[in-house]
């Protein structure tokens, strides 16, 4: 549990950080909260020669509102997400779901951007980003660009980020008026990743579903959006039977890896359970 030696760099601006990544090349890794990277280094599964610590770059932290956009700095910690008044009012799914991530110590250092940029399908923010139609802002050697969450997650530990890129911001919009939301996460214990988890955002208009997002955590090589499950409910007046149908559709896209949490059959079944429970809870919150 002792990492090999490495060089430590602590840039004070995004520009400086991108410059370091460009000059150090593929042996450099960004250190955000460190709760995925450092355990891997201690186990010597990851042996980067350079760590670029972006914790001291002030502009990467905090939540601000610009017009319709709610912009979350990538280095905003989970605890800061939980406490943020704007997110609690406008995108309450994010703070509520963040409470289910790991434990208080991890949430104190772990960041929303690190959780997303790691590309681990077991992390919670990718599915939440899909459910919130988030836009990722990426700084690289050629300036900044924006990538929607739906195009960001490419595979396990594989995202739209290049080696010399830094995820700087996550932009979301306020939920539709009166929308309900839920994140149901089945886990073995505090601190564990999800055996299966589901995020739902739903809004009704005249009793029928006018907006719906159903996304899944740790049930495939990336976070998944269950489009067919959404289609089952869209425009409908929801009942138990439709919810079961939606869950069945969501289960069809699951391709989870077997591990000590369970085999694929169990995890897929649990996906169905989480989808049903998340839809019910989200509907109960619709106002």
């Amino acid at each position: 549990m002792i990492p090999p030696s490495f060089e430590y760099h602590r840039p004070s601006s995004v520009e400086e950080a991108v410059g370091l990544l460009s000059s150090l090349g593929s042996e450099a890794k960004i250190l955000a909260g460190g709760h995925s990277l450092l355990p891997m280094m201690k186990l010597r599964f990851a042996e980067p020669e350079h760590l670029v610590d972006i914790n001291r770059i002030p502009e990467l932290k905090g939540v601000r509102v610009v017009g319709d956009n709610i912009i979350i700095g990538a280095m905003t910690s989970e605890n800061a997400v939980i406490a943020d008044p704007v997110l609690n009012e406008k995108v309450p799914l994010l703070p509520e779901a963040a409470k289910l991530i790991a434990d208080p110590q991890v949430r104190n250092r772990g960041t929303i951007g690190g959780d997303i940029a790691h590309g681990d399908p077991a992390n919670d923010h990718p599915a939440l980003a899909l459910a919130c139609d988030a836009i990722m802002t990426i700084a690289g050697p050629n300036g900044t660009r924006q990538v929607p969450a739906s195009e960001f997650f490419l595979g396990t530990y594989w995202t739209a980020l290049e080696e010399t890129d830094i995820l700087t911001e996550i932009t979301v919009k306020a939920f539709p008026q009166g929308a309900g939301y839920a994140y149901k996460k089945l886990k073995r214990k505090t601190g564990d990743w999800a055996t299966a988890a589901c995020a739902v955002v739903v809004a009704l208009s005249g009793g029928s579903v006018s907006h719906i997002r159903i996304t899944l955590t740790n049930l495939g090589p990336t976070a998944l959006r269950a489009h067919d499950a959404e289609s089952v409910l869209m425009g409908q007046s929801v009942n138990d039977d439709l919810i079961r149908q939606a869950a069945a559709k969501a289960m069809e896209i699951c391709d989870p890896a077997e591990d000590l949490r369970g085999d694929a059959e169990y995890k897929t079944a649990m996906a169905g359970q989480m989808v049903q429970r998340a839809i019910n809870e989200a509907l109960a919150k619709v106002s």
Binding site: M1, L186, K189, L260, Y266, Q273, R277
Partner: protein
């Protein structure tokens, strides 16, 4: 103005003696981060050791190349079995009469086995050097299943034992067979079964688990080449025995070996044994003449230092049609791993497993335990229990439930019918144990009333009849008897040393005191509770009594702390040492008051002249006198030592009831209620007892609901981190309700029986009883642990239960 005269009640309260919930003396330093653990020890010139471990579970070592590691600046040594051979330290004796490799000698027998050590200037260099040591293995067939290990053509695991047909505990009939140990009367048991109208059988596996103390194992060994003295700080639950073993292995006279157990962050049996890491650190310090530190990491701890359990059990009960048990038979296949390193009293290779007749009056009983080698790490320690008592209690409590189910009897009713009755104590069981005292019926009724058992059963009935109910409700009941306080030296020894324990008390001239003990606290709160015993015995306030343990150069010899033996054995030694002082104090008091001893009465903190409350001497007065004006013919000073050899074990008991609600959709269990009544005899500190019970129940919850060390067919231990190995946090831990009755031990000086392990031993089968009860209407009689959501979900599916 004279100070107001205190009432006897006020004086008694000021002592904070037995029965007082005084706050723990230990906590001030722990909650401020001021504990001194092994890893806090830093000595000038100290080097660091790390261990090269085997990636394969069974293999022949073809070649070890140390050169790349030795080439790293700051590396002092790389040692293998070949380097230890000239010292004859490449193998070491185990507590169970076997030998264990210190460093793998030609073969590795389990994954993560110690193959080589490196000594370096710091921990980082040591870790780099471990990675640089090149070891070539030829992989051999792996045996994980103990039943397969006993097949005729199973791979030979222990080539060092080739041709050895006699083991430490009798004949070996197969190359992977360690021992077969029996207790009870087989023919009487067979007769009982032959004539019984009803018999039931159940196979069950008690999974391999790990005690997983928060602090892992480690040591700092410091050999002074000038003085020829070896001092070692070590995470040990038994420092005195370790000193004896180290002296025997190293040849350093025992008088020049000093073992110090500093603050210990939990033991739970994990810190009883002597591990290769300790031996290698000590050897390295002797060879290099510098202090050497070894601290294992979490994965090393879970993977290699002392697992617990792993018993495959077949239980059988014979009974009458109305549920009176006539006979018990048990057959166990015990997976001991690669070396038999179980920590048990020498004569008992299956510990005290033959307490498996439990709280019941069973006329005929027999058990047989077969120990087997497999390609897993050695161990088999008593994880928060007396030796194999957890397995025994699990077996009998499950079997009584199975019998009740077969007879369609309520599980409380069948227990009432079979309990040893209060008037039968002292009661000799079919296995020969003499149960000292108990009152099971009273305790059971108290629990059933407290939870309104009939209402719970009615609720369960109602839920079962509602197909839309999202949960299955189960009620678990366990009525266990423990056996602790090992033990009488006529039958209990460790490496030939009788399992007594000891106490030395010195009263200082100004009336404060120090007590030194052969035990060692690891969280039990000895520094708090031991002082309370002395306070009550001698009338000295607890606050001015220091308790010291763990340093073999200052403490009297004792066998250490495990198996709930501290209060039953060392606690008795305290009382007896105090009574020696009390007797001398009485002589001094008589001298000072110029009366005969027979004219004195003891009252709380003083001797008074009978019939005259004004004429008295307090223990403080007497202490002063002991150092300046002792009676003629009496030695000065006021101190005593007592070595207590218990006449019998003690037999704490408890009645536990658990209500579980199982989510039909996910298999998750919610422990709605857990009611634990414990009878540990005389209660010294109720707050600490509650803490012990909460801790034991939480560890029991962990074992029953999640802990497990799963292996794949190649012998890889899957899940040796705390991500997978279940240590519940406050979030998962149920709310505990505690209760008690008091049935003092008749043979113990203060009537105390020990309590720390009862909640672990008793709670585990309670959870299983509750989970199985949730399925019992479907005909399910048993479900093996751990009761994880995944495993329960599979059971729900198998039984066709759907949300």
């Amino acid at each position: 103005m004279n100070a107001p005269v205190k009432t006897p009640e006020e004086r008694k309260a000021e002592l904070q003696g037995m029965g007082d919930s005084r706050l723990r003396k230990e906590d001030a330093r722990f909650i401020q981060g001021k504990g001194q653990y092994c890893d806090d020890i830093k000595l000038p010139g100290m080097l660091h050791m790390d261990i090269v471990r085997s990636p394969v579970a069974h293999g022949r070592i073809k070649k070890i190349n140390k050169d790349p590691a030795m080439a790293i600046p700051g590396v002092h040594a790389v040692l293998t079995a070949d380097d230890l051979k000239p010292l004859n330290l490449h193998w070491m004796p185990t507590l169970a009469g076997d030998v264990a490799a210190v460093l793998a000698d030609e073969k590795v027998h389990f994954q993560m086995q110690e193959v080589a050590i490196v000594i370096a200037d710091d921990r980082y260099i040591a870790a780099d050097a471990v990675e640089a040591v090149e070891v070539e293995y030829e992989e051999l067939s792996v045996v994980i299943d103990p039943y397969k290990a006993l097949e005729p053509d199973a791979p030979v695991l222990r080539e060092d034992l080739a041709g050895k047909t006699e083991g430490a505990h009798g004949p070996r009939d197969h190359h992977n067979h360690i021992f077969t140990w029996e207790a009870g009367d087989k023919s009487a048991a067979d007769d009982a079964f032959a004539n019984a109208p009803v018999t039931v059988s159940q196979h069950m596996h008690y999974p391999r688990v790990h005690p997983c103390p928060l602090e892992t194992c480690g040591c700092v060994a410091s050999f002074d080449p000038v003085k020829g003295e070896l001092t070692t700080w070590m995470t040990s639950q038994a420092p005195h025995v370790v000193r004896t073993v180290v002296s025997m292995l190293s040849g350093v006279p025992e008088s020049k070996v000093r073992i110090i157990s500093p603050d210990i962050g939990g033991g739970f049996g994990n810190k009883v044994g002597v591990y290769p890491g300790y031996v290698c650190a000590i050897v390295s310090s002797i060879v290099l003449g510098r202090p050497v530190k070894w601290s294992e990491d979490r994965m090393e701890n879970i993977s290699t230092t002392a697992f617990a359990r792993d018993y495959h059990m077949d239980g059988h009960l014979a009974a009458t049609e109305d549920g009176k048990i006539l006979g018990l038979k048990v057959d166990v296949v015990a997976d001991h791993g690669a070396f038999d390193a179980c920590a048990d009293p020498t004569k008992f290779p299956a510990g005290l497993f033959h307490i498996c007749s439990g709280s019941y009056d069973i006329p005929a009983a027999h058990c047989s335990v077969k120990g087997v080698y497999t390609n897993k790490a050695p161990g088999g320690v008593a994880y928060r229990c007396s030796f194999r008592v957890t397995e025994a209690v699990y077996l009998i409590e499950r079997m009584v439930d199975v019998l009740a189910q077969k007879l369609d009897m309520d599980k409380a009713e069948i227990r009432r019918k079979n309990f040893i009755r209060k008037e039968q104590f002292p009661y000799t069981s079919a296995f020969g144990f003499e149960y000292d005292s108990g009152d099971y019926h009273t305790a059971l009724e108290k629990v059933l009333d407290a939870v309104d058992y009939d209402a719970l059963r009615a609720e369960q009935e109602q839920k079962r009849s509602d197909p839309n109910c999202p949960t299955l409700m189960g009620i678990g009941l366990v009525t266990f008897t423990e056996i602790v306080g090992a033990g009488p030296s006529k039958i209990c020894d460790i490496l030939g040393v009788g399992m007594f324990d000891s106490c030395e008390i010195r009263i200082h001239p100004t009336g404060s005191a120090i007590a030194r003990m052969g035990t060692i606290t690891q969280g039990q709160g000895h520094q708090t509770t031991y002082a309370q015993i002395i306070a009550s015995e001698l009338g000295i306030p607890s606050e001015v009594i220091q308790v010291e343990e763990g340093d073999t150069s200052t403490a009297p010899y004792g066998l250490g702390t495990y198996g709930s033996r501290s209060t039953p054995v060392a606690g008795a030694a305290i009382a007896m040492a105090a009574r020696k002082i009390h007797a001398k104090a009485k002589k001094i008091a008589a001298h000072l008051l110029e009366v005969a001893e027979g004219d004195l009465d003891w009252e709380i903190d003083r001797f008074k002249v009978r019939g005259n409350d004004e004429q008295f001497k307090t223990m403080a007065d007497i202490a002063w006198a002991a150092y300046n004006q002792p009676p003629e013919g009496l030695e000065p000073g006021l101190e005593a030592v007592h070595y207590y050899d218990p006449p019998n074990f003690t037999y704490p008991f408890g009645i536990y009831l658990c209500v579980v609600d199982i989510d039909k959709g996910t298999g998750e269990s919610s422990i709605r209620r857990f009611y634990a009544l414990d009878d540990c005899g005389t209660r010294i500190n109720p707050m600490i007892i509650d803490g012990q019970i909460h801790g034991g129940l939480t560890e029991g919850f962990a074992v029953a609901m999640g802990q497990q060390m799963p292996f794949d067919e190649q012998g890889n231990l899957m899940g040796n981190t705390l991500m997978d190995y279940f240590l519940p946090t406050a979030v998962e831990t149920p709310t505990w309700e505690t209760d008690y009755t008091v049935t003092p031990s008749p043979h113990h000086p203060i009537g105390a029986k020990g309590v720390a392990e009862s909640p672990h031993v008793g709670s585990i089968p309670t959870f299983t009883s509750a989970v199985v009860d949730a399925f019992s209407h479907l005909g399910v009689t048993h479900i093996d642990m751990p009761h994880t959501a995944y495993r329960i979900w599979k059971k729900l599916k198998e039984e066709g239960v759907q949300l």
